[in-house]
């Protein structure tokens, strides 16, 4: 609970963007309009607090598309819980970045 209370609006937006399917740094930047100097450090902190976790894309996929592999981020269970709490705190989050389900409907 203490962790949820500390989550800033910017961090909540990043969590929301991740939940909405923007799973790498640059896509979060493009979606939120936040600069790289904000997004990446925030993701480091979120990963440190185990709210998100990262994994590298398989090399074969990247090779097939002739590009370097990307590092993807994903919400953890604790991250989802925190995001739910953040949504209650910042009710406009959902409207700012609609979740993947909402966008597909």
């Amino acid at each position: 609970m203490a962790l949820e209370a500390k989550l800033s609006h910017t961090t909540a937006i990043i969590l929301q963007a991740l939940d909405a399917g923007f799973v790498y740094g640059f896509s979060i930047m493009a979606m939120t309009g936040l600069p790289s100097g904000t997004v990446y450090p925030a993701m480091r902190r979120l990963e440190r607090d185990q709210l998100i976790r990262s994994h590298w894309e398989r090399q074969s996929i990247a090779d097939a598309e002739q590009r370097p592999p990307r590092k993807y981020y994903k919400l953890t269970h604790a991250g989802k819980t925190t995001l739910e709490a953040s949504r209650r705190r910042y009710p406009l989050l959902d409207r700012l970045i609609p979740s993947e389900e909402a966008r597909t409907v």
């Binding site: 740094g25 640059f26 790289s36 990446y40 450090p41 990307r70």
Partner: protein, 498 residues
């Protein structure tokens, strides 16, 4: 966009990322670089249009790359917070930190000591080359005044082949009074009017308007007297003072630490030679002609004065270079001596790396050498500053005694400092440069011919074991490093094994 410009931008952006990566803790650097490198590729694909000039797009990519610095800083701060103090124990960073702190402390002390402040500014005591101080040959040191004024007058009256300038001074205690200040007793040097010109000493606050007429003598104040008696008044030139029974005009202030000749004075009363009181002995400064300089031998020149009453008066002239060389020359000499003496107090080997099966990378070797160089430079800097601190703890200006103290202190600190540097380096893990710990005795001295005996130390990060033989043998003469493979990692889990 033209390909060369695009390539230049690409290199520039990669350079920015490379620069930022240096701030990332080493363990995370490779992955951090991989992520930002990949992201940069995608950012370029997204932002920079193909075959078109777009400065705006390049600016956008640049601002993306600048964010890498904030990210790197965030990781660095995080690692500092995470890193317990125990992991810094014995690390290279800790060693450099303590040496730098010691240097800062010694330098701070140096700034508080007026003698050191004077000594470390070489511009303050530059004098003309070719100057000698003439002394009676019966005296071993140049402190006592040994030349009678009458003799000096005789020399000065003759045409000289070896000298093109002579000046006399004699220090005595005089009552000095100024208009507004009470009478005080100063150490006053009664000197030839050409003394400062001959020495080439700088005089501050001198002004042609303040030059006195021919009837008045000229006075140059020492920096100390100027500050204590006149409150450091910059408009001091032209002030009339009474020195003994004479009226004199202050024409300037000698630069702090400029006076390097025997005797401490509060002021110099510059007078024509004929007006200097004949009472007592004094010192004579002379400037050698090229012919005179050719007679110099080891900074000394023997002189025979042919006077009518004492035809065998032997003198010697000592070069003022020794007095005006400053502390750096002496320090460099002691560094040389210390390096020459070093093999007598310790082995100059840095330990045995060649026996190790592990071949260390060039970056690892470079890191080790950089660390060793940094330690040596810091130790030598500490030796220089701390030897000056000790030498000028009580002395406020140059003195032969202070020079001896500097010589001994500098040599001792350099010698034992270098010994420590080598001992310390030998006991640092070649991989992470942390000091190896947990010494354990291995083997028995009585079984030297069956198995090795000595001390075994281990790197706290689990990289290496250090074996130091108890009694060096032909097959195990120096210490050896044993590199631990990854099977040892579980022992060091949680201690930051990379």
């Amino acid at each position: 966009m033209t390909p060369p410009a695009e390539s230049a931008y690409r290199r520039f952006h990669l350079g920015l990322l490379r620069g930022a990566s240096l701030m990332v803790p080493r363990k995370q650097r490779a992955e951090w670089w991989r992520e930002w490198h990949a992201e940069l590729w995608h950012v370029r694909q997204e932002c920079v249009p193909i075959a078109t000039v777009s400065w705006r797009a390049e600016r956008k990519v640049t601002s993306f790359c600048l964010g890498a610095f904030q990210d790197a800083l965030c990781l660095r701060r995080h690692s500092w917070r995470q890193e317990p103090l125990a992991t810094l124990q014995g690390s290279a960073a800790q060693c450099i930190f303590w040496l730098a702190a010691a240097l800062a402390v010694t330098y701070s002390i140096a700034l508080l000591l007026p003698g050191v402040r004077t000594e470390i500014h070489p511009s303050r005591y530059q004098v003309n080359p070719g100057l000698i101080l003439i002394q009676d040959a019966h005296y071993n040191n140049d402190s006592p005044a040994t030349i009678p004024l009458e003799e000096f007058r005789i020399w000065n009256g003759r045409a000289q082949r070896y000298f093109d300038g002579l000046a006399f001074y004699r220090i005595g205690r005089e009552a000095v009074s100024t208009g507004s200040h009470s009478k005080a007793r100063w150490e006053v040097a009664h000197a030839s009017s050409n003394l400062f010109a001959l020495l080439g000493l700088p005089v501050r606050f001198a002004s042609p308007a303040a030059e006195p007429d021919d009837n008045l003598s000229r006075v140059i104040l020492s920096d100390e007297a100027w500050k204590s008696e006149f409150g450091g008044n910059p408009r001091i030139a032209g002030t009339i003072v009474r020195v003994g029974s004479r009226q004199a005009t202050i024409v300037g202030v000698a630069a702090e630490g400029a006076w390097r000749l025997p005797g401490k004075t509060d002021a110099w009363l510059l007078e024509p030679d004929s007006e200097i009181d004949s009472f007592g002995m004094g010192h004579v400064v002379a400037h050698l002609t090229p012919l005179g300089q050719s007679e110099m031998l080891a900074a000394h020149v023997p002189i025979s004065a042919l006077n009518s009453d004492d035809p065998e008066h032997d003198l010697w002239g000592a070069s003022l270079d020794e007095r005006t060389r400053g502390p750096l020359g002496l320090y460099l000499f002691t560094v040389l001596l210390a390096f020459l003496a070093l093999p007598a107090v310790t082995s100059v080997s840095l330990g045995e790396y060649t026996f190790a099966s592990h071949k260390s990378s060039w970056s690892g070797r470079l890191y080790r050498w950089c660390f060793l160089s940094a330690k040596i430079m810091l130790v030598l800097a500490i030796a220089y500053v701390s030897s000056l601190d000790l030498a000028y703890w009580h002395a406020t200006s140059y003195s032969p005694a202070a020079e001896y103290v500097q010589l001994v202190a500098s040599f001792t600190i350099c010698l034992f400092g270098m010994k420590w540097v080598l001992l310390d380096q030998r006991q640092r893990c070649p991989v992470c440069l942390r000091r190896v710990t947990n010494p354990a005795r291995v083997g028995l001295a009585s079984r030297t011919f069956l198995a090795w005996n000595g001390t075994e130390l281990i790197c706290a990060d689990g990289h290496t074991l250090l074996h130091i033989p108890g009694s060096p043998t032909s097959w195990f003469s120096t210490q050896r490093w044993l590199y631990l493979d990854t099977s040892w990692d579980f022992l060091f889990a949680g201690q930051g094994v990379g």
